[in-house]
Symmetry: C2
Subunit: 274 residues, 2 copies
């Protein structure tokens, strides 16, 4: 066992799929520190040979063979990569064979069919969702709120903006968000414009301690970031959401991906794009 290894993500397209799966597998081997290198757009034998050289250099440097996660559709390219001095795990190869058998069909072996722009309507849905979400960030406008798929509410810095952007970009969901400001919280009333769209509301909450930590990064030693104020805001926001029967989740220990997926799932929204 070596304490240091290099992990390569090699793909004929972006490498994003290989990175995502590889990364989640590597986190299962905590004691090892992986240096991660992505080599995208390897779609010719020449590119593959250049990648082999890079991998061989890592063998020498680490004194151990690298781990390679690859998604390579072309058989010739995959053959070159497969012969490297490395543990090569090709996602395409490991899955395409059982799929072909199950479906009784040869796969098309076409590079770059995912993330396709070929479908203009799905491209448009994505762009429209992004534009909608940008326009409706942080309560910027009440116009066309009826077009929202979801409206997130929560105190400042509870994670609304990143979650909305993620939902728009990755799911094609039109996600507005509306900050609960001190005035709302003191009156213990949701703004009337939001109550008109109650069925689309979804709350984000957070622990006061975490909120203090996040707000202190931006405005250290402010009343805004003070623990007492964070406690008041969080408690008042949660009480309001309870009162109005708005579902909400605690974002404290969740990543943006987890928050977005949980909302999609519990609010019964469907992804518009894949």
């Amino acid at each position: 066992m070596t304490a240091r290894r290099t992990a390569f993500f090699i793909s004929d397209r972006t490498g994003i799929t290989a990175e995502m799966l590889g990364q989640s597998l590597l986190t299962q081997f905590d004691p090892i520190e992986f240096q991660r290198i992505t080599i995208p757009f390897v779609d010719s034998v020449e590119d593959a040979e250049a990648a082999v050289e890079q991998v061989n250099a890592a063998v020498i440097e680490d004194g151990a063979r690298p781990i390679v996660f690859s998604t390579l559709v072309d058989d010739d390219v995959r053959k070159v990569i497969g012969k490297m001095n490395a543990l090569v795990l090709d996602l395409f190869e490991m899955f395409i064979i059982p799929l072909e058998a199950e479906l009784g069909l040869h796969s098309s072996h076409t590079v770059g069919k995912s993330h396709s722009t070929a479908n203009f309507s799905s491209y448009n849905q994505r762009i429209e969702a992004i534009n909608y979400t940008l326009t409706h960030d942080d309560g910027a406008t009440n116009r066309n709120l009826e077009d929202a798929d979801i409206i997130l509410v929560g105190v400042s810095r509870s994670g609304k903006t990143p979650t909305c952007l993620y939902m728009a970009l990755q799911f094609g969901i039109k996600a507005a968000n509306y900050p609960l400001i001190p005035e709302d919280l003191q009156q213990m009333k949701l703004p009337p414009v939001l109550l008109q769209h109650r069925s689309k509301l979804y709350g984000l909450s957070i622990t006061p301690e975490r909120l203090q930590q996040i707000r202190s990064e931006r405005r250290p030693d402010s009343k805004y970031a003070a623990l007492a104020n964070c406690k008041f805001e969080v408690q008042a926001a949660e009480a309001m959401m309870h009162q109005a029967s708005i579902p909400f989740l605690d974002s404290t220990t969740k990543s943006i991906e987890e928050i977005a997926t949980t909302i999609l799932h519990t609010a019964h929204l469907a992804r518009r794009i894949y």
Copy 2:
């Protein structure tokens, strides 16, 4: 062979990895229309049994067994899912065994280690990149441009905003963007504020035909969307970028993922987050 099949993405966490890999594999089997269903957060035997029921219902409806892409770390949960009447491809199982052998180490079998928020500094980098990118969208401000990792330039609707948001969210990259407006294009001069940061500039171009199509969605029958105007803007923008030695790429047939990855790769930027 059936013309219709259901594909399930079942995960103990978000299901995003299973969706991404599954989706890119399914696009290789074009003739079949897949209905896609994601079941996230399956982290108990009870959840697994509920998923089995859902899958069994699809068997009856389709008259063919579904394809299941799963990422399940817990052995008991995986056992329940593995026994379903479906082609179950568990990403975790297929890769973890060769990895354990290669690394001479047992994996931690801990659910939900990817997309972690445990690392506060990496969470902060992501949020900071998103805030920076939102503040520096569409030339909104020239302040702190020196903090940008990259500054995208291009005509209106060439894909700058979605690309910048993607880079911020997924890579933790601070990405500003600056529209080339008709005044810039007529004078054939990049704004002086941009020339100060020439090494960070990266251009997006697009074919005039595609630009016309995209602009017409927003403002049909406008001068803005007219083919002649699109031609002028694109040609002038490309000439300016050539003159100033700014690298640029054609976004026409590329997805947001492909544009973002290509820029990351050719501008030699490193992902800040995984």
